[in-house]
């Protein structure tokens, strides 16, 4: 038996030895450094390899500006549409009882388990010139694939579940009592939604929109398939990064990557702030 005197340092029954603790923290930090922090630094280091001026200049040319504009346009269309879908779907699923609810939720989650490239492929097969729908639309002057609508559709496909996923658990937890109270007090359906439901879900909505937006602006695989990669027309920021990188224009590629990285960092910052300040109004899994 070990020395059983009062001077033995007490170790809590629910703690590991300090050596184990520091070893685990060290392993975690080292893994994160190699996998996450180093690539983050690499993006900025490569972008600034020829100095600030070269980096900023590379973002100023016509193709780069058009890529930034296109990416903003896509996000501006697809994110509000997906937010509207998310709100409608969450309302339908949480305020009504119907058969097949679990199946509907599975269908909404489906895009998460489909490869982005397969998603793009699906859009091409549905709306491409060879297809029934696509052929008719092209004949009438509305090309979808290799044009903005196709990119928007592909983006919406891969980001489809984001907002609904955030709202459904929150709205289930909040129940229907407040809406029912508003209705008995004579409020109309819309009024109930705007004055009772929306204030209760706004932070969860923002959270979902934030993640949806980050993914929408950064989507590569699905967009690569449907965009046709026409410089100055259908090349989004991620597509432009690929083209510049393949042309060995490293500074230009990484400068544009740095812009998207800043966006990712801002997204993370806002997300963390939401988790800290409005945890009670987010889905339970995001609470700290």
């Amino acid at each position: 038996m070990s020395d059983a005197t009062a001077t033995t340092r007490f170790r809590s029954a629910t703690e590991e030895t300090p050596l184990t603790r520091w070893l685990l923290v060290g392993l975690g930090a080292a893994g994160m450094a190699l996998l996450v922090f180093a690539p983050l630094i690499a993006v900025f280091a490569e972008a600034l390899a020829d100095g600030w001026l070269a980096a900023v200049e590379s973002l100023g040319n016509r193709d780069a500006r058009s890529a930034i504009q296109l990416t903003l346009t896509i996000a501006a269309i697809s994110v509000p549409l997906n937010a509207a879908f998310g709100i409608a779907a969450a309302w339908f699923i949480t305020k009504f009882d119907f058969r097949g609810k679990a199946f509907l939720i599975t269908l909404i989650d489906l895009p998460f388990s489909v490869s982005p490239v397969v998603a793009g492929l699906c859009i091409v097969l549905m709306f491409g010139t060879n297809s029934l729908v696509g052929g008719w639309l092209v004949a009438n002057g509305y090309p979808i694939v290799f044009a903005l609508p196709g990119i928007v559709l592909a983006t919406m496909f891969v980001t489809f579940p984001f907002v609904a996923r955030e709202l459904i658990p929150v709205m289930i937890e909040q129940g229907r009592a407040e809406e029912e109270a508003a209705l008995t007090l004579g409020a109309s359906g819309w009024r109930t939604f705007w004055t009772v439901t929306l204030p209760n879900i706004r932070w969860a909505l923002l959270y979902g929109v934030l993640l949806c937006n980050a993914r929408a602006m950064g989507e590569f695989g699905a967009v690569a398939v449907v965009s046709g990669k026409i410089r100055g027309q259908t090349a989004t920021m991620p597509i432009t990064i690929e083209m510049l990188y393949n042309e060995y224009l490293s500074v230009a590629a990484f400068s544009m990557a740095a812009v998207l990285t800043v966006l990712a960092l801002v997204t993370l910052l806002l997300k963390t702030a939401l988790e800290l300040r409005h945890a009670d109004q987010l889905a339970a899994t995001h609470r700290h």
Binding site: A4, T7, A13
Partner: protein
């Protein structure tokens, strides 16, 4: 990591007597226990009685090795046990929430402490099964071995937690609010159950409660605590007849 368990020191059947010598406990700047001293005779059934925040649970956890006193000593059979780790103490501890392992069956829960022993001192499988069966009979639930804790009632869970604590052949039995989570009817039944098990095993038993009726009815000796101090120690009848302080008088008449 702990690799060896102490060999049983007490002779089978001879219960241990516990001494608490000037134990105090600070949590940061607040004192949970002012220096308290207490002698628990072997084989006694003792209640630590007091309102929440009186330090009774802290004292129980110090006995079990789950907290370490800021100052003072704990003596088991006259030997200093203050530095013993929780594993070395071999105290059968029953938690207020019972803390059953919900991914294990009742059988696996009760066998846990025996299976956790290093190979040299671990009983063979058949012997473990025999002991678990015996314990299930002792708690009068012989047929629930294959169930999971989520399939049991509150009273059944409490008795399984008791059997699990007894399986390690503990040197003493420590119970934190053993009846706290039960409704009034079940509570009365299980009180007698604890008394029976205590009498059968002869183990020195300490339980924490805030219910004065429970303490008075069940214990041989009651320790009334308030704000980290011991207010009175005595037989239930004595405390009822001669409360030592105003606090004791108001608390036991509540």
């Amino acid at each position: 990591m702990q690799t060896s368990l102490p060999q049983p020191t007490a002779i089978e059947g001879a219960a241990m007597h516990i001494e608490i010598d000037e134990i105090s406990k600070q949590f940061g700047v607040t004192a949970a226990l002012h220096p308290v001293s207490l002698a628990i005779p072997s084989g006694a059934l003792v209640a630590l009685l007091g309102p929440s925040g009186s330090g009774k649970t802290t004292l129980l956890r110090i006995l079990g090795g789950l907290e370490f006193p800021t100052a003072g000593r704990v003596l088991f059979d006259g030997q200093d046990a203050t530095g013993l780790t929780v594993q070395e103490r071999r105290a059968g501890f029953v938690f207020q929430s019972y803390a059953l392992f919900r991914h294990m069956t009742v059988f696996e829960n009760i066998a846990y402490g025996l299976n956790a022993r290093p190979r040299a001192t671990r009983p063979p499988k058949a012997e473990i099964a025999r002991r678990v069966t015996k314990l299930l009979e002792l708690i009068q639930l012989p047929d629930i071995g294959s169930r999971y804790p989520s399939q049991l009632s509150g009273g059944q869970r409490q008795r399984v937690a008791l059997a699990r604590a007894l399986a390690i052949e503990p040197r003493m039995l420590l119970l934190d609010e053993p009846f706290g989570a039960l409704d009034a009817k079940v509570r009365k039944e299980l009180r007698q159950g604890l008394r029976d098990i205590h009498d059968e095993t002869g183990l020195t038993t300490v339980f924490v409660t805030h219910d004065q009726e429970e303490a008075m009815e069940l214990a041989d000796m009651v320790v009334v605590m308030s704000m980290g101090r011991i207010e009175q120690i005595g037989k239930p009848a004595d405390i009822r007849a001669r409360p030592a302080t105003d606090f004791v008088r108001t608390f036991i008449s509540a």
